[in-house]
Subunit: 112 residues, 2 copies
DNA sequence: TGTAATATTGTACAAATACGCAAAGAAAGA
DNA sequence: TCTTTCTTTGCGTATTTGTACAATATTACA
């Protein structure tokens, strides 16, 4: 193993932050406006404490940032490039499902 | 909550498959050639059974595919677009760390 | 046919994650 | 100041994940 594992751990940390349905909903929604925790909570239908923790994870990953405004905390998308992930993800989702589960031998025409 | 959660769960599943350092190493390495489980095992310094399971996860996510060749199983990158993730991830890693951990009030110039 | 090489699967376990409820903090307004 | 609103944090719990070792295929080769 001659790989710089630390680097890949850091990368994984960021991608992991995107690897959750609720957080994806939040990220995609923040694409339009900054929003309060309460507003995001309505969106994903979880306890507000859970949403607050999801936002913390996204913040630590460097994906969102926030600012206080009086009572409220407004979250915004800090690095919109994460939205680019979706292109590839959709491409994968639309690709032929059959090919995902089979690992066939050389003679099998299923192989890509 | 008016969001199509199922869709986001599926997206998250794919991104989650990328959210692990060992699997990232594997994916990046497969960019060049298809490789056997054994070869990938040397790369990441884990038990071969663990690597086999990582590959299963990547396969179920539609990210890699494989073919048998005699004794061996050769894995290849099925959807190279996942490599695009790295651009954005690197951008985030290189962005100012200070901004990631603070959620300051309006008057704070740290806010982006 | 028997042995070695390659990969996957069964099992167990520790660590991490996601979650809600309750409590605590912080700001606004009566 | 007291109360309300908004957010975060403490805590307990259930689930998922990452891992290695042992056992089981599967194929190649002597």
């Amino acid at each position: 193993m001659t790989v710089d594992m630390a680097r890949f751990e850091k990368r994984a940390e960021i991608i992991k932050a995107m690897g959750n349905a609720a957080r994806l909903v939040i990220v995609e929604d923040l694409q339009n406006n900054e929003k309060t925790v309460g507003a995001l909570t309505e969106l994903v239908d979880l306890d507000i404490s859970t949403v607050s923790r999801h936002l913390l994870i996204l913040r630590h990953a460097g994906i969102v940032s926030c600012r206080k405004n009086g009572n409220r905390v407004l979250y915004r998308l800090r690095t919109p490039c994460v939205l680019n992930f979706f292109d590839c993800v959709e491409r994968i989702l639309n690709s032929d499902d059959d090919l995902k589960d089979t690992c066939s031998d050389d003679s099998c025409t299923n192989c890509i």
